[in-house]
Symmetry: C2
Subunit: 260 residues, 2 copies
């Protein structure tokens, strides 16, 4: 479990949780538990995603994947136990002043992780290999596969605080939805362009597997423009937040301009 | 997910949740969510446990296992999403009058499922194949692998109600711990004795795989006596509950006298 979680990574979801928390004036210790919970879910999904029956990948964050370093059965259990640990954090520590709000956070993370969220997106992904997806179909897949957890990260962070209302939460959600999609578009661009050494994971696998991506759907140049468009729309959703949204804007830049 | 959950099974954990709820005068609708959550965790663990990298089993509850009926990747995601769904239930519905009590239930189920509970027990199990375990080692494995979730089932049910104090919860926990162990001893006996058709899963697999069991550690006859002893001790822990513990006693009988 330590190998899978503490081995680096961009920590985009925790960053979003902290930035969301800042928007709501949240206590940083509270946010750290929410951020950790989301990252544990993300880490478990990578371990399971790399398994031979899924993407069958041997490299992750520049190191052998969990099942290569240990074995498949261990990797399976590692992922399972990481998911449990995520919810244990949400049950064990005080993350919100009103415990009802915290129960809502449990529901939010569970929904984002399960069949109507991340796991559902991966199921759509499995079914789509070798097929030609339309742009709306591709979007539907990614909104679930990566978008749900990214949105949950920002919202969980914000819900640790009290200085935010529903209209503001909705704006934050719009931002997170758009930036989540941008994240995926950039991922596809990097998979097509960046070398394995920079990525820390095997590059060029999408094309090799005939997986539908934004690059295969739009072409490289249009995919890049699309990512920029999404960033602009995302940042626009933060209008009115002023200084409170400084880090959210920085994360938007990082997501679109990153090279790994 | 429906295939893995709605395909029958003994529903021992939900029964324990309802019986625990009865002890505490709990509203039956509340208990039904707690019972469902525990059973979803159990169902996910069976789906993952049957995978080729784990027990590699083809038969479960008299039907093809999930990865045989669908495929490995689907079975992996099904298990993952069932775990999420369990916690979604605990976050979404009102299970306790005090939301702090309900957060405690989230922590309880997560702890029982994770590395210090069920998943940890499965990891010990993986490491023990082909080794000769002492009786205390065997017990340690089962206390985690099956015991943790069985205890959680009874306690979650009871915590849905209000007419129970900590001393009574402790008694219930002792009962559940002992009956959980008895459940496993009987499982080992049945694996050695019962035909596949009765079990609904492949019989005789423990011996074939040289897995440490109570039958291999104690012999068949002593294993049976041990199960009876555990039942008696478990029922003794219910002293003082009177009629309120009627169903708990019946479940103890069912667990030890069952033929499948």
């Amino acid at each position: 479990m330590r190998y899978a979680v503490l081995g680096g990574g961009k920590r985009v979801r925790p960053l979003l949780a902290f930035a969301g928390g800042e928007l709501a004036g949240a206590d940083i210790e509270r946010v750290s538990f929410a951020a950790a919970a989301v990252e544990l879910i993300h880490a478990y999904s990578l371990v399971h995603d790399d398994l031979p029956c899924m993407d069958d990948d041997v490299l992750r964050r520049g190191k052998p994947t969990c099942h290569v370093e240990y074995d498949e059965a261990t990797a399976l259990l590692v992922g399972d136990a990481l998911q449990s640990l995520a919810f244990q954090l949400l049950g064990e520590y005080r993350l919100a002043t009103d415990p009802n709000d915290q129960l809502h956070m449990v529901k939010l993370l569970a929904g984002a992780s399960g069949s109507r969220g991340m796991a559902g997106g991966q199921a759509i992904d499995l079914e789509s290999v070798g097929r030609r997806l339309s742009l709306p179909e591709l979007e539907l897949m990614h909104i679930h596969k990566t978008g749900a957890l990214i949105r949950a990260a920002a919202l969980l962070g914000a819900r640790c605080g009290e200085y935010i209302d529903q209209a503001e939460l909705d704006k934050l959600d719009t931002f997170a939805k758009l930036i989540g999609l941008a994240f995926q578009v950039v991922d596809d661009v990097l998979d097509a362009e960046a070398p394995t050494a920079t990525l820390g994971k095997t590059a060029g696998k999408d094309a090799e597997r005939d997986k539908p991506t934004y690059v295969s759907a739009l072409g490289l140049s249009d995919a890049k423009s699309f990512a920029q468009e999404l960033r602009q729309d995302a940042v626009k959703a933060l209008d009115g937040f002023g200084e409170r949204a400084l880090r959210l804007r920085e994360i938007a830049d990082f997501i679109v301009l990153r090279k790994f």
